[in-house]
């Protein structure tokens, strides 16, 4: 057993309202640069639909991911090593900018400089690639909310096998949103395809990154990734991808996309897994077995044997604790309601999804029946084969059984909780019908419906447990801000991190956050007042408290945040940091 830790995410699709906030904030944080205009590390697709880039799921065409050879070995679909090097001078299967979309801006100048005139002036779109005027014909979410789907959606690769039925009933079709980020796979085909070895998986948290200094711009990763989540920066000539916001994760705060998610549908936590078993699990013969095989790779953090092995593998104690509390572990392995996206690509993706029950609920509602009655819901799940089959194509390589079971669990939760909310006697047979206990069902409901920030995001860094205090949108009762004690106890990151602080964390520079987190003392004795707000600094002189105290030999004990009680270990990443604190 070789225990490794992986930072993973689960998204609850029923709650996604398709607002694209996550995409926009991610773009603001990571890809608002020239060369990356067309890039969305986080994108939200309307399904059924083509996705971004167009039809990326059609691996016959795009050759992403792994295939199993008849001999039972895994091979990149785009060919072996020699083949890749022979094709290095021009990648045969790289999406063109048109497959993503040609980015554009508008000629606002015309609007601003227009003289008073009879007709309104018009801002014409200009391509950000060629600079010429262009016709906007496609974008990252052109078929948003099924717009133009009569024309496009039929080409959705995931409708394969059910396209006739769907077309017939298109007027009453179902629809849901699928937010996508890089899957930070356990068996990443992007890394395998990189000739330079520039893409690596971090040992500590499994985040997959591109080393910008080692990347030589061969573009093989773009083809290698079946989710098309590595992008080519056409200005710098290097590949870039979703970073899982590692600078934030390192200091214990969630990714930008999760932090800003309006539906609060994202869960971040650790998964422990057995790295020795990954390859075997990814090579099982039947595509339908991949979901179970991947789940079998995960290790139960409550198991003492696993804990011992994890410790032996150098995983710090507070990480194991965090793995126990991980909402991701609960959703994937305890309640078994989260499913991987496209396990058939055999990359062992680590962003999982709770499939939406809403297509089923909507149909019942439209017919006027009670959409919260478990009998009706179960019957509808049985009857509505099209959404179920479609979801199965996305999440279980086409096997409807696991999707069926998940939807039943969600349906059961719906009707079981209604009884409780209406003050009626809870009916124990409902959870039983889906193989859950009443407590489990209630806990699952809590996690899915009302979990607070620190339950949705369990990110182990030295102070992860305090993370919810950083959220800008209040998850706590605002009155608690007036609690004197809390006012005094400025948060572990120093000023600006405590409850009731006015400094929004999302605009904080991550280096600043890290300095604060790792500086040995709470600056100026832990009170806010000693700190200088740089935004208000007039540039004259060096006011006291402008620079954090940086005594190298101060011991851990000087930090009196509650989170430190777990032990001296901040996180493995930090061990040799220049702060000299972590040992």
């Amino acid at each position: 057993m070789r225990v490794m830790a992986q930072m993973a995410m689960v998204m609850n699709l029923d709650k996604c309202i398709g607002c694209h906030t996550c995409s926009v904030t991610c773009k603001q944080a990571w890809t608002n640069r020239s060369g990356m205009e067309y890039v969305w590390f986080n994108n939200v697709e309307t399904r059924p639909g083509l996705g971004y880039p167009r039809s990326y799921e059609d691996q016959e065409e795009w050759k992403g991911g792994w295939v199993r050879t008849p001999a039972g070995r895994l091979k990149l679909r785009s060919g072996g090593r020699l083949n890749r090097l022979l094709n290095i001078f021009s990648n045969p299967k790289m999406p063109s900018i048109q497959d993503y979309y040609e980015p554009w801006t508008y000629d606002y100048e015309t609007l601003l400089n227009a003289p008073a005139q009879e007709n309104f002036p018009v801002a014409v779109p200009h391509s950000l690639i060629s600079g010429k005027q262009m016709n906007v014909e496609w974008s990252a979410n052109w078929d948003d909310d099924l717009g133009g789907s009569r024309q496009h959606a039929a080409k959705d690769p995931m409708l394969k096998g059910i396209e006739d039925k769907v077309k017939m009933e298109f007027d009453e079709t179902f629809m849901f949103y699928l937010p996508r980020i890089c899957e930070h796979c356990l068996n990443p085909s992007c890394a395998a395809a990189c000739p330079s070895g520039a893409i690596y998986k971090r040992e500590e948290d499994g985040i997959v990154l591109v080393d910008q200094d080692k990347c030589r711009g061969w573009r093989m990763c773009v083809t290698g990734c079946p989710y098309k989540k590595v992008y080519f920066n056409h200005k710098t000539g290097k590949a870039e991808k979703c970073t899982f916001c590692y600078p934030r994760i390192e200091v214990g705060i969630p990714t930008v996309c999760a932090e800003t998610c309006v539906g609060r549908l994202r869960y971040i936590g650790l998964m422990l897994y057995d790295a020795d078993k990954v390859l075997d699990a990814a090579s099982v013969e039947d595509d339908h077995d991949l979901y179970e095989a991947q789940r079998a790779v995960f290790l139960d953090p409550h198991d003492p044997v696993v804990q011992r092995e994890a410790e032996a593998a150098g995983i710090p104690g507070d990480w194991i604790e965090a793995a126990k509390k991980s909402p991701v572990w609960k959703l994937i392995s305890e309640y078994k309601v989260a499913l991987p996206l496209h396990p058939e690509y055999r990359t062992m993706p680590m962003v999982w999804y709770i499939p939406p029950l809403s297509p089923v609920v909507d149909v019942i509602k439209d017919t006027g029946y009670d959409a919260e009655d478990h009998g009706n819901l179960f019957a509808a799940i049985d009857a509505l084969r099209i959404p179920v089959e479609y979801l199965a194509n996305l999440f279980t390589a086409g096997d409807p059984a696991p999707v069926d079971l998940v939807l039943r669990k969600l349906a059961a939760m719906r009707s079981y909780m209604r009884d409780i909310n209406l003050g009626r006697d809870p009916q124990a047979h409902i959870p039983e019908a889906v193989g859950m206990t009443e407590e489990q069902m209630y806990e699952m409901f809590r996690l899915l419906a009302i979990a607070k920030y620190d339950e949705r995001y369990v990110i182990p860094s030295a102070h992860g447990e305090e993370a919810h205090a950083l959220e800008e949108t209040a998850t706590d009762c605002p009155v608690s801000d007036y609690d004197d004690e809390l006012m005094e106890l400025s948060g572990p990151f120093g000023e600006g991190s405590g409850r009731g602080s006015a400094t929004p964390v999302a605009v904080e520079n991550f280096r600043m956050l890290q300095t604060r987190q790792t500086s040995d003392t709470l600056v100026a004795g832990g009170a806010k007042r000693g700190r200088v707000n740089l935004l208000n600094w007039d540039g004259k002189g060096v006011p006291a408290g402008m620079f954090p105290d940086s005594e190298k030999d101060a011991s851990v004990a000087t930090v009196d945040g509650p989170a430190q009680l777990d032990g001296p270990h901040a996180r493995p990443d930090n061990t040799a940091g220049s702060d000299g604190k972590v040992t």
Binding site: F89, S96, I97, A191, E203, K235, P247
Partner: protein, 245 residues
């Protein structure tokens, strides 16, 4: 003058070549790429690029044969002058043609495809001009000099090749080049100009041939960077930007 052209100048260029690469690798790993334009245009590139690059690999192999391996060695191996000649032409002409045709397609593409053209820097343009000229002169020397023997036959293995090898023994004899036809002189001169430009252009990508790909495991694991001074992130801060204290 001749000493400058065929002794001093090559050394200057080679020094720039070596020091330049070391310097660039130290300070600009991030810029070490050829800034592919495949995202903008794929069809022409799909034909032109492999044609050019494989052609060039052939051409480089040919130069190795002609410049580095002395005539005395092939003589001793019993390869007659005629036989060598035929081998050289049979290998060189197809490779050369592939490179020239590939280059023509690539230059055409660069000029006519709007986004590709606007992504072309002055640096690129100068480099392309010199590169194209060197290739053109090389082809001219092969076809006109060796194949059609316009202006008399010239055995470069008596002149250019020994001179080239002498450069690496640090005693080049300028008179060997002086006797060479103008075409060869220009080809050699511009080639050294190209060497001097090399580290400062996208040509550096030649030195990133990913040979290690054959032997490394598919998935690379790496620990989070813990070099002293690195704040967060995966690379050490730039010189002068290290964390204070």
């Amino acid at each position: 003058m001749s000493t400058f052209l065929w002794v001093i100048f090559p050394y200057i260029c080679l020094a720039i070549f070596v020091v330049g690469h070391v310097w660039r690798y130290q300070y600009d790993k991030f810029g070490w790429t050829t800034r592919s334009s495949q995202l903008y245009e794929s069809k022409l590139l799909r034909i032109g690029s492999p044609l050019f690059h494989f052609g060039m690999l052939g051409v480089v192999a040919g130069h190795f044969l002609g410049l580095v391996i002395p005539q005395s060695l092939t003589d001793r191996l019993g390869l007659s002058h005629e036989a060598y000649h035929i081998i050289a032409l049979a290998g060189g002409i197809p490779a050369g043609i592939a490179a020239v045709v590939g280059l023509a397609i690539l230059v055409y593409r660069r000029r006519t495809v709007g986004p590709v053209f606007s992504a072309t820097t002055v640096n690129d343009k100068v480099m392309y001009a010199v590169l194209a000229l060197v290739i053109f002169l090389g082809m001219w020397n092969t076809i006109a000099g060796s194949l059609l023997t316009i202006g008399g036959e010239y055995n470069y293995r008596d002149g250019v090749s020994p001179w080239f090898r002498q450069i690496f023994w640090f005693q080049p004899d300028a008179s060997l080049m002086e006797g060479a036809p103008l075409g060869f002189q220009l080809h050699a001169f511009l080639a050294f100009v190209l060497f001097a430009m090399w580290p400062f252009t996208r040509l550096v990508h030649v030195f990133s041939a990913p040979i290690g790909y054959f032997t490394r495991p598919y998935i690379v694991y790496r620990s989070r960077d813990s070099r002293p001074g690195a704040a967060t992130g995966t690379r050490a801060p730039k010189r002068g930007w290290e964390k204070v204290g």
